[in-house]
Symmetry: C2
Subunit: 318 residues, 2 copies
């Protein structure tokens, strides 16, 4: 198979664009595609300092490399944030993750913070697994979001970017169409504005990029990343989420561009209708422990509830 743009051997097919590309032309095409998406969705128009959440996997390390390049072009600042969640399960998952994040921070010479939640909050995700009633992946998501936001604010960032890719998005959307959680669907933003009174917005710059393309980019660019999946994976939704993802990937093989169209049509056409119908501007209250925004009628936020249960401590009372 020859590259569509030169005589070299193609290393990847992009069936939905009817392209086959050699290494160099793929890198060029991929980076341009990333920039076009960023521009089309006006992702960083007002961003001055962007925190890049780096877990050490292929998506977030690739995102870090792309954001580094973009920061030089557009003139914003970036800082890498890695959260050591304390997931071990006999596989040193978190310490390996942090190792790979660190390799990339140093390789690119970007400023970074490594945050160990055991030190910062007094418990690990592994500790929480049996002590907290919600599924461990849900606790982990909560802890990551909370920590990222807090640390990004400490660092003076105005934007957080995360590595959710197209396959992730397509899976969330199809699961939402199936289970009917229209409020979750309405809130599945690619650009989440800051909470009232705060200034950090969240962006998913890879939301239209296929997992396969990200993986290929990471490999050909020699980006060091952790192959392992989290040992806790698939505890939320279980078989269902996994099956939906596989079927979407099969659909993609027969109908190239299926996921792309599913996600773009969702973001551009379906979600706006769901937002209008189902999301009312909620009045928020403040958590009595940490002071961050929470549902109006709650005394303390979900994160502080978890932390209190795990440690008996409420160190940060404001």
């Amino acid at each position: 198979m020859k590259c569509s743009k030169c005589d070299n051997k193609a290393i990847i097919k992009i069936p939905y664009s009817n392209l086959a590309l050699c290494k160099d032309h793929f890198i060029e095409w991929f980076e341009k595609r990333f920039e076009r998406i960023v521009d089309k969705y006006k992702m960083f128009e007002n961003s001055k300092k962007i925190a890049v959440a780096v877990s050490g996997g292929k998506d977030s390390t690739t995102l870090l490399h792309l954001m580094k390049k973009l920061s030089e072009k557009k003139g914003f600042e970036i800082i890498g944030i890695n959260i050591d969640l304390g997931i071990d399960m006999g596989k040193q998952y978190s310490s390996k993750s942090t190792e790979f994040a660190l390799k990339n921070f140093e390789m690119l010479g970007v400023k970074y913070r490594i945050v160990r939640i055991k030190e910062r909050y007094g418990f690990t995700i592994d500790d929480a697994k049996h002590k907290i009633k919600r599924p461990v992946c849900s606790t982990c998501g909560l802890v990551k979001r909370y920590t990222l936001t807090e640390v990004a604010e400490e660092e003076g960032a105005d934007t957080i970017v995360t590595g959710h890719n197209l396959n992730d998005m397509a899976q969330f959307i199809m699961a939402g169409y199936f289970n009917g959680d229209v409020r979750d669907l309405a809130r599945l933003d690619i650009i989440t504005p800051p909470e009232k009174g705060y200034r950090v917005m969240k962006v998913k710059p890879l939301f239209l990029i296929y997992e396969k393309e990200i993986l290929t980019y990471a490999l050909v660019k020699g980006i060091p990343f952790l192959y392992d999946s989290c040992p806790h994976t698939f505890r939320v939704g279980g078989v269902t989420q996994d099956t939906i993802r596989r079927k979407l990937e099969e659909l993609e093989e027969t109908i190239p561009g299926y996921m792309l169209m599913l996600v773009e049509n969702f973001i551009n056409k379906i979600q706006p209708a769901l937002k209008e119908k189902y999301i009312k501007e909620e009045e928020l209250g403040h958590c009595k422990i940490c002071g961050r925004p929470t549902t109006k009628d709650r005394e303390i936020c979900s994160f502080c509830a978890v932390r209190l249960k795990m440690t008996g401590q409420t160190v940060n009372i404001k």
Copy 2:
């Protein structure tokens, strides 16, 4: 495998309800389920005379049998309508369809009309295939909708029911999520109110019933129906529609109830939001040839445009 309700051998599994049923209990369960859906969605609350569109296939013949039973219970009148579309293609498809429809009308002793579009309008679907630019399945859909509505009105019916099943609905919805035709999705009603100034509404009473269950019911009840598919099948959407349907059926095997939830959540939660955002009450004009409603700025309706092209005649000028 034993029936969940008695000691007889089960003939079908209903995995999403965790049931296995023998012939008699399946028939009882199926008919109850049909009635519950009719009641839940208040399908025939104001119906006095219902036209049942019968193509002769498993869905529409089963629907006829169910509607006959329901008419005795609820006290409305029914009339069967079969349209001979003039599809032959060397397989006598339309004449066989009509034969099976007729068998069922006579078997049940229901009043009926058989409408041959060649006699009524001067052309057949086979004729239209090469002469009309739109895909033949699209022309056919247009002709069927037009004819059904006209004939139902002539017969004084206030309601038309059609045999679209759950698998059909799930396929339409997934195709819509993929191709982003939000206005089509918004209009994919299970109960379509009459056009302004008219009185015939359209209902899809089988929209929550799996194809497999309908087929099983038709078989165990000895309902005569035509197995053949239309020789023109899959000319609209082609491979895409077919692939989507197969993937949905595979998803259903791993996640029992997938299609059911996809369709119910669409109808109850997603579609209302799409209607609010995308459908404005359109002012309709009237076709200069047949007088029926059409888009405001058009002189003649799509049906009369096809007919004019096919026959050069405009017999019904009003």
